[in-house]
Amino acid sequence: MNALKFSLIAIGVGLLVLAFAHWLGLDYFYFAGYTILQFIVLATAWNILGGYCGYVNFGSAAFFALGAYSSVFMHKIFPVPVPVLILIGAVVSGAVGFGMGYLTLRLRGAFFAIATLALAVVLQTLVVNWDFVGGSRGAYIIRPETLEFAGLEINYIEYLFVLMLILAVTALATARTIERSQLGFGFATIRDDEMAAEASGVPTLRLKLIATTLSGAFMGMAGAPFPYYIGYLQPSSTFGLEYAVNSIAMPLIGGTTSWIGPLVGTILLGSLQQIATVTISSAVNLLIVGILLVAFVIIAPNGLVGLVQEHWRRRGP
């Protein structure tokens, strides 16, 4: 299946989801769906660096928050439509991703993970002390009820849902294209053995920078519409553990070696969290992530996708 065909199918599935949501006509579905879609983008972005290259990023929340706060910044100085904000978020977080990749290029394994965590702390401190974007008080963005588009009145939350749906499809198509390209093979050699990769002619530094930039950019894009979705942006929750942990746990539970892993993991974990939020309490979310993560590390270290692949390999010749 080539990239074009896959994109068409992905868009088709996206339209089906949208049609279903529209038919349901429930605002809550858009709210819950938006969160899951947002995590699909975050998990896929994390997986480009963490799964394909083997560099574990604990700072996902920082990249996400950068996207969100660049939207707040733009909202204050020069309001532009959300799709433009998404592009701005991509540029800002992509640039920071590039910088992080460049500064940490000699770090591997746990040291790289610690550096990303440190980056998140530094950025959070900056935002907390930056009054213009709300500082520690947080920032309010009043979401319009509806959006006028080509003479149509569109429910604003539905509009955000559609944007995130487009982003999720784009992220998945990008990840899948990378996986089957020369770039994907290069990423895998970095994960396996960097020294052998260099000896085979793979420019590991350049590929790492591509991965950190791309991964950062997608996380920023996921964060850009967030202030409009949430209405009130606060540093402690935007930089919160939930984003960092979820964007690691979702690919790990689904499987990190292919694009479908983060998708499966997010749908499973994201839905569980949404159900728990409604039926029990939103505080249970992190507990669910923790328990599932421990269970999967023990039972299926290669995630659900790895489990299925292993099953097929055993059944096959």
Partner: protein, 244 residues
């Protein structure tokens, strides 16, 4: 004839330990050079300096008429310098064919322009695996291989980059006699195709039968360089090896 590889006065320290101390080495095109020395004499450090994995503090490395100091390891590979590792380092998440695909995609593409199609890539991978006798295992993973097969994969991957110079770093350590003969025959075959080979080895019988010239490193210095039969009779070399 100008040398293919010219190493001039290379030194390398690790803290207070002098690993290489002013090494000079020349390798002519098409030559088979043996490089020997006791453990810790600096053989692998020298290879790492030549290939760009480590940076030498003094001296220059000249390859194929150009100074390559300061180039990253992958750039040196692109210029035609390939190596195999002492301990095999396969890409363990890929099958054997894909292991060879990497140098084809990244080195051969960069140097000679893209191969025409995916079919070309596949047939080239197969050809290389066939050369080392692993064609039947193309779809298997590196973890399924025996030790000698792993060494062969390592050599095949180095060969996939279509090098001018191949540095085989102890590719026979821990193998049986017949397996050593296998690898030796393979290296001679490569040399006959016009590839210059530097063989780093402990096993003297293998080095003696393979090398046209022999260089000896001891404690980071080159103490002998010449015809193998002369070098092994050299007093300094005998002392270094037998501890007289």
């Amino acid at each position: 004839m100008s040398a293919l590889l010219h190493v001039d006065n290379i030194s390398k320290r690790f803290g207070g330990f002098v690993a290489l101390d002013g090494i000079d080495l020349e390798v002519q095109p098409g030559e088979r050079l043996g490089l020997i020395g006791p453990n810790g004499s600096g053989k692998s450090t020298l290879v790492n300096c030549i290939c760009g994995t480590l940076r030498n503090e003094t001296g220059t490395v000249n390859f194929d008429g150009q100074v390559i100091d300061g180039l990253a390891a992958h750039q040196r590979t692109h210029r035609g310098l390939a190596r195999s590792f002492q301990l095999p380092r396969p890409f363990h998440s890929m099958n054997l064919a894909d292991n060879l695909r990497i140098p084809l995609l990244y080195t051969v593409h960069a140097r000679l322009g893209p191969l025409r199609s995916a079919g070309d890539l596949d047939s080239r991978c197969h050809e290389l695996l066939d050369m080392v006798g692993l064609a039947k295992k193309a779809k298997q993973m590196p973890r399924d291989l025996t030790q000698v097969e792993m060494r062969k994969l390592e050599l095949a991957r180095a060969m996939a980059a279509e090098p001018k110079l191949l540095i085989a770093d102890e590719s026979m350590a821990g193998l049986s006699h017949s397996e050593i003969d296998d690898i030796l025959a393979l290296l001679v075959k490569l040399n006959e195709r016009g590839i210059t080979v530097i063989l780093i080895e402990h096993i003297m019988s293998a080095v003696m039968s393979f090398s046209q010239r022999l260089a000896v490193l001891v404690s980071g210095r080159k103490i002998a360089d010449g015809k193998p039969e002369d070098v092994v009779r050299d007093e300094q070399v005998v002392r270094a090896y037998l501890g007289q």
